[in-house]
């Protein structure tokens, strides 16, 4: 029986026995349902708050200087603020105390000379508008409009008040190509690598859970010797990585598919050409995902196998989960300077190559040198090969040790004898 067939046998067994497990099925199909319910519950306060902001809010204006020329209620553009003329400050105060006004502005007669304006708000704190900035901005715009309206024409007044009201954004590549740089396009450049990072983290954590738990159970159930009498540790580890990795990827595939089905309307927008999809990053993500997964999987399985029970194994394996999550903590650094020193260092570190490379390729593909991509991928591939070798040796030691966890000295000694 060939080495590959033995590995395939282990992989098939691990895959089938995992994907047919009740817990796996519940997680795979129950998780999206749970997340949907969770998202709904979380969204309810936001919806309620959103509705609240859509309600008309009335502010009083005591225009002693007759600067704003309010004769009736005026709704500020792009807001729900309504400005209502009030004759005197005491009248406005009574209305505010009654709750008829959300606040009021007093424009004194000498406003143009002194620039002092009084703003009155309720003493009670408002979470939706704690500083009252929205109403101030709206009233400021109204004042500007009225001041300019008497001196310049309407178009000039509008340009002075907001020159970027209808601005468009474009991005120019080093080759001189122009593409849309609007909010959606910019968002995609961050969303794609972030999605990659999150999926990678989830798959590493979920699969490592299966890997470590399965191996710990084999040790506890005393199946290990039977396995080792049929296949060597490299074959068992390889089979487990493929089988359980496949189960983890299938799970993510199901979730992604459900996500795509739910958001199928977005696809035509992506392919319409108006949005700059970071295809280079997406293309890099496809081969980097399994390589990085093998890198972490080998180390996690090797380290986890040293535990004397499932809980201890999980604790040992969590070290690598934290290392895998490190690029998330460094995200701000890479986002602010995609080609800065920190980004370069993280690109060449095999523990973060995959995620940082995808992020940089998404943020600024033109600024990423080909040799940096090739070099860092080569370092990652070599590190993965090394991780598999080291992981297999530790795995062998871990499998053979039962009861107490082996000492570091034991690990070194037995690993040396492994071949």
């Amino acid at each position: 029986m060939s080495r590959w067939r033995r590995m395939w046998t282990v992989a098939t067994f691990e895959f089938i026995s995992t994907v047919t497990r009740k817990g796996y099925l519940i997680t795979t199909f129950g998780m999206p349902v749970f997340l949907a319910i969770y998202a709904t519950v979380v969204a309810v306060p936001a919806i309620v708050a959103g509705r609240a902001t859509q309600e008309t809010t009335i502010y009083g204006v005591v225009d002693t200087a007759d600067l704003v020329h309010l004769r009736q209620d005026v709704t500020a553009p792009k807001t729900r603020a309504v400005f209502r003329p009030v004759a005197t400050e005491p009248d406005a105060r009574v209305s505010l105390a009654r709750g008829a006004l959300a606040g009021y502005f007093v424009v004194p007669a000498d406003f143009l000379e002194r620039g002092v304006m009084d703003i009155y708000t309720p003493a009670a704190f408002s979470a939706s508008n704690p500083t009252g900035r929205d109403s101030r901005d709206a009233f400021a715009d109204l004042v500007r409009a009225r001041l300019l309206g008497e001196r310049v024409d309407a178009n000039l007044s509008a340009r002075i008040r907001d020159p970027f009201a209808d601005a468009r954004r474009f991005a120019v590549t080093k080759n001189g190509e122009v593409s849309d740089a609007g909010a959606l396009a910019s968002a995609l450049r961050v969303v794609v690598p972030l999605l990659f990072m999150i999926l990678f983290m989830i798959s590493v954590m979920m699969t490592s859970g299966y890997l470590i738990q399965g191996t710990a159970l084999e040790k506890e159930n005393k199946v290990v010797d039977v396995l080792l009498a049929s296949a060597n540790p490299d074959e068992i580890m390889g089979g487990k990585l493929i089988g359980l990795g496949g189960a983890g990827l299938l799970q993510i595939g199901v979730w992604l598919s459900l996500l795509l089905i739910a958001g199928v309307g977005v696809l035509p927008v992506l392919f319409s050409g108006h949005v700059d999809v970071p295809w280079a990053a997406a293309a890099l993500a496809i081969p980097l995902f399994p390589v990085a997964f093998l890198f972490y999987g080998s180390l996690m399985l090797g380290t986890g196998s040293l535990g004397s029970n499932a809980r201890e194994s999980q604790q040992l394996g969590i070290i690598w989960s934290l290392v895998a999550a490190l690029p998330m903590f460094m995200l701000a650094l890479v986002l602010s300077k995609p080609h800065g020193t920190a980004s370069h260092v993280l690109t060449w570190l095999p523990t973060s190559t995959a995620t940082v490379l995808v992020l940089r390729a998404s943020l600024d593909p033109g600024g990423l040198a080909w040799w940096e991509v090739a070099g860092s991928v080569a370092v990652l591939a070599a590190s993965t090969w090394l991780a598999i070798r080291i992981g297999a040796r530790i795995f062998r030691v871990g499998l053979l040790s039962s009861g107490a966890r082996p000492s570091f000295r034991d690990v070194l000694r037995q690993a040396r004898l492994a071949d």
Binding site: M1, R3, R5, R6, T9, V10, T12, F13, S17, R21, L217, E218, E220, N221, K222, V223, D225, V226, L227, L228, A229, S230, A231, N232, L400, S402, R413, L417, A418, D419
Partner: protein
Amino acid sequence: MAIVVFDHIAKSYGATPALDDLSFDVGSGEIFGLLGPNGAGKSTLIRILMDIIRPNSGEVKLFGETRRRAHLDRLGYLPEERGLYTKLTVVDVMTYFGALKGLTRADARGRALAWLAKVELPEVATWKIERLSKGMGQKVQIAATLLSDPEVCVLDEPTTGLDPVNVRLVQDLLIERRKAGRTTILSTHQMNQVEMLCDRVALLNKGRLMVYGTVDDVRRRYSQPEVLVQARGSLPAVAQAAETRAANGGWRVTLRDGDAPSALLRALVEAGAEIERFEPQLAPMEDIFLRVVKEGRS
């Protein structure tokens, strides 16, 4: 013909020696008893045979050549500390173990069902392992080990915890293997089984080979030169009898140094004795085991 050869095997765990220059072989088609007290080095030797651990020095030869990983497909192993995947069904686990030995999944599944019938447990095929009783689980493990029909099979205490009916069932399976020309290495502390089943034995103590040979030879070697004789009337005095004393309704005769039981029998018949029972006294394996271990301690 030797099918397994241990050639000067030595193994130590740190400063603690486990096996000390061990050399012996196991013949093709025999049931070979691997005996020894706890900690004698039996499990270490078996794990070296199965390539689970490596010796510090020495070599294992299988099927006439230096042991290779490919040979593992032709070996079966039932460890003493054994278990199964508790959450899976019996037939799935057996199929997996068969597939690991090179069988196709379909073949392994077919054989698993056949072997379950053979060990009188056809109804448990779809049960989860956790539902099995201890004895059932043990029979399933034996069946899982034997379903690939390994040329050499190592069974470490296969009958521990089984009732007498199932012990007999397992013994019959081993005898059947011997008839089919398959080799079985049986590690056990049950000496009655050794006498009943084994062709040859190796007794280890503190990592050293203390006793090695056919069961009859070993028993003879460690026996007192005595014969139990029952006869009508009195027993005539003959030169081959150094000492005669009454025992169990007959006589226990100690042979003169250098004389064989057959010489005594011939002399008694020639002297006119009417012999009804003539039984050379062989030492039980249990006594030999205890004696060797005791000598090792002293």
